[in-house]
Amino acid sequence: MLYTLAKVLNVLNSEADPSQISLAVALALIAGLTPLMSLHNLVVLLLVLVLRVNLSAFLLGLAIFSGLAYLFDPLFHGAGLSLLSAKPLEGLWTAMYNMPIFRIARFNNTIVMGSLVVSLVLFLPVFFLARAGIVRYRARFLAWMKRTRLAQAIWASTFYKIYASLPGRH
């Protein structure tokens, strides 16, 4: 637990660009909320590796969102079922159903469809909110924290030694 918390702080306090961290979180949202072994997650993996996003943030986000996905499965199933049963979209789904690439992607599965649509809808809000949060954290909270006696005490603690020993800190 301490290790995970230290890792989160490490990412936030690193010199990494807030956009790179927030993009990693947004991509982790897609990979985490949707079934991991899906075709679209190969695209997400490609983006994570090719774009200069923070890998630690992605892996952390993936773990957190995968856990949340389990709780939200009924919601995703309901959303996917509603979309796939929607009469106006029937033509689109039928056309996609007859294309091998979409069949391999399992777009017609209620949870795949529901979780993908929900994560895509949340992608930009999560990206911008995370970015704004990181910027604000660094500008205000981190600067204030460094001046407090608590921070002084923490720097002297075991927790800080773990935190300081993490690779990529300096």
């Binding site: 079934p35 590796l49 090719v50 389990y70 499965d73 996917g80 789904w93 069949r103 017609n108 209620t110």
Partner: protein, 579 residues
């Protein structure tokens, strides 16, 4: 641009993708092996073991070795033991997530082989039900007199006899009272003795003059008239009494015959009859036919999921709660419809009776409505051990899922029946040898089951063992069977899978008709005697009491007879001697 793009990442992606493909290729054999085990276990309801599965690339397919399917009814044996199975997949259809096997070979299937370890059973099959032969067996025995139905009939008969006895007893009492009162008002012995005294007085009277003679004549005449009047009165009473007495006696006789009549009726109703026993064919082959029908229907139920996919309506899909993280795969119209699973052609070889039975199965799919073709199969073999020739042809038409029609034709030639027990405990018959030629047509159409089997058995030899319960039947059957070397057999099945009738007939029935009639009569007579004894024991006290009462009427009869005799003697000898 450089700030955002990490070109080394592309290399990492390629490496990761290659590693994923590599691991998939390494693991796919095991995945397929487990997939076959799970899918087959789901269908059969018992453990399935696959030794190995190998992926082949050109053409794309798999070679699977040693598939053992546990028999759910006997987990220590395999229902099927397949040595090798190879198949090629349609690659284009695979991209559409469809498994279309163009060609399959299933080699060396063995049935009923022993397993190293008993397999797990996930779903027990229903117990076989053969109610008809079991019920028929009881017809060959004297019915149980203590059974509920017979006991009730005895109680009813007993009650009827008791009521009749009570009514008759009352009637006898009334008659007795009436005639005892009546007899008091009839001329009695004292009155007749008065006549005797008058006669003696007249005979002692001196023969005097004419007037005395005339007076005596008048007195004799009066005496004669008096005696005659009393005699007529006594005779009339006696006649009326005799009528009552006859009626009472007849009723008493009827009462003592009631147990016999009731026993006859109960025996007719609950006892064996030639019609109830049925025919000898049912007794000898009915049970076995019932077992075969049950077994066939169970196999049909077992293969049904391979022929019919249960499709959900849109409403059912909405109500269905899928397992977590699995969801539901929605289906849409396909431009070029193809089944999700299809084995277009499978060549099958079955090892049995020292030879190989070759066969082909075509269009095996649970989506016949999509394919538009029924599943067909054809197996044939010659010179098998104990079978000269066999041909099995089947069509399983589920193209229209609402009216499935399945039909099987089986031709069997020169099947050595060997030694097998026929009949039941009441008539243990052993077929010591026989050669069977048969043709079977069986059809399951919707909720209707029909089967027709016509068979002839030649070179037959029977052995009849003596049964304790029906030694007479055994002796008669022994005589009949000793002259039979061949017979024909017809079995008809009709009805619904849960409620069907098996009709068995053969030319043996004609030979046995007389034997069955005699047996039924003997058993019915034994039963009737038992019922009669039971009834007589119950009401013997009542009947003897009524008989005693009836006997008391005899005293009245005797009394009247004595008075009449006395009056007649007075009239005939004494009065006429005065003249």
């Amino acid at each position: 641009m450089r700030k955002w793009v990490r070109w080394k990442g592309l290399l990492a992606f390629v490496v990761i993708t290659v590693l994923l493909v590599f691991f998939w290729l390494v693991l796919v054999d095991d995945l397929v092996r487990r997939g076959i085990e799970r899918a087959t276990a789901f269908l059969v309801g018992a453990e399935v073991n696959v030794d190995n599965a190998d992926l082949t690339f050109s053409p794309l397919g798999f070679v699977v070795s040693r598939i053992q399917v546990t028999n759910p009814d006997n987990p220590e044996t395999n229902a099927l033991d397949i040595q090798r199975m190879a198949f090629t997949l349609n690659t284009a259809q695979l991209f559409m997530r469809k498994i279309v096997i163009e060609d399959m070979s299933v080699e060396d299937i063995a049935l009923g082989t022993m397993r190293e370890h008993p397999g797990r059973v996930y779903r027990k099959t229903a117990q076989e039900v053969t109610p008809v032969p079991g019920e028929r067996a009881s017809w060959f025995e004297v019915p149980d007199i203590s059974s509920q139905s017979v006991r009730q009939a005895l109680e009813e008969a007993n009650l009827k006899t008791v009521n009749s006895a009570r009514a008759l007893s009352n009637e006898i009492e009334n008659k007795n009272e009436f005639w005892n009162q009546r007899i008091e008002h009839l001329p009695d012995k004292d009155r007749l003795q008065e006549y005797q005294a008058r006669i003696e007085a007249l005979s002692k009277a001196r023969k005097g003059d004419f007037s005395a003679l005339l007076r005596k004549g008048t007195e004799v005449k009066d005496l004669y008239s008096d005696i005659n009047a009393d005699l007529n009165l006594l005779r009339d009473s006696y006649r009326r009494f005799s009528e009552d007495y006859r009626t009472i006696t007849a009723q008493v006789n009827r009462l003592s015959e009631l147990p016999v009549q009731d026993a006859r009726q109960i025996a007719q109703k609950y006892g064996p009859s030639a019609e109830g026993i049925g025919n000898i064919s049912s007794m000898l082959f009915g049970e076995q036919a019932g077992v075969w029908v049950e077994r066939s229907l169970r196999w049909h139920e077992r293969i049904r999921p391979m022929l019919d996919r249960g499709t959900l309506t849109a409403e059912e899909q909405k109500e269905l709660r899928p397992p977590r993280s699995e969801g539901i795969d929605m289906r849409f119209r396909e431009y070029a419809p193809a089944p999700d699973f299809l084995i277009r052609k499978a060549a099958v070889s079955v090892l049995t009776r020292g030879r190989t039975l070759m066969g082909t199965i075509q269009n095996l799919t649970p989506d016949q409505d999509v394919l538009g073709l029924p599943m067909t199969c054809l197996f044939s073999g010659e010179n098998l051990e104990g079978i000269q020739g066999i041909r099995l042809e089947g069509t399983f038409d589920h193209v229209d899922p609402s009216s499935p029609q399945d039909m099987v034709r089986l031709g069997l030639e020169g099947y050595d029946l060997g030694t097998r027990n026929l009949g039941q405990e009441i008539l243990p018959v052993e077929l010591q040898q026989g050669i069977l030629d048969t043709g079977l047509t069986a059809a399951v159409s919707g909720r209707s089951v029909n089967a027709d089997l016509a068979a002839t058995v030649r070179s037959a030899r029977f052995l009849v063992r003596r049964a304790e319960q029906a030694a007479g039947l055994s002796a008669a059957a022994e005589k009949v069977f000793s002259g039979i070397s061949g017979f024909s057999l017809n079995v008809g099945v009709s009805g619904e899978p849960e409620n069907y009738a098996v009709n068995v007939s053969s030319n043996l029935d004609d030979s046995f008709r007389g034997v069955i009639d005699t047996l039924a009569k003997d058993l019915a007579a034994q039963f009737q005697t038992q019922v009669r004894t039971a009834l007589e024991q119950r009401i013997s006290g009542q009947i003897s009491s009524v008989e005693q009462q009836a006997g008391s009427l005899g005293q009245i009869s005797r009394e009247l007879s004595e008075r009449i005799s006395f009056a007649e003697s007075l009239l005939k000898s004494n009065v006429f001697s005065l003249l």
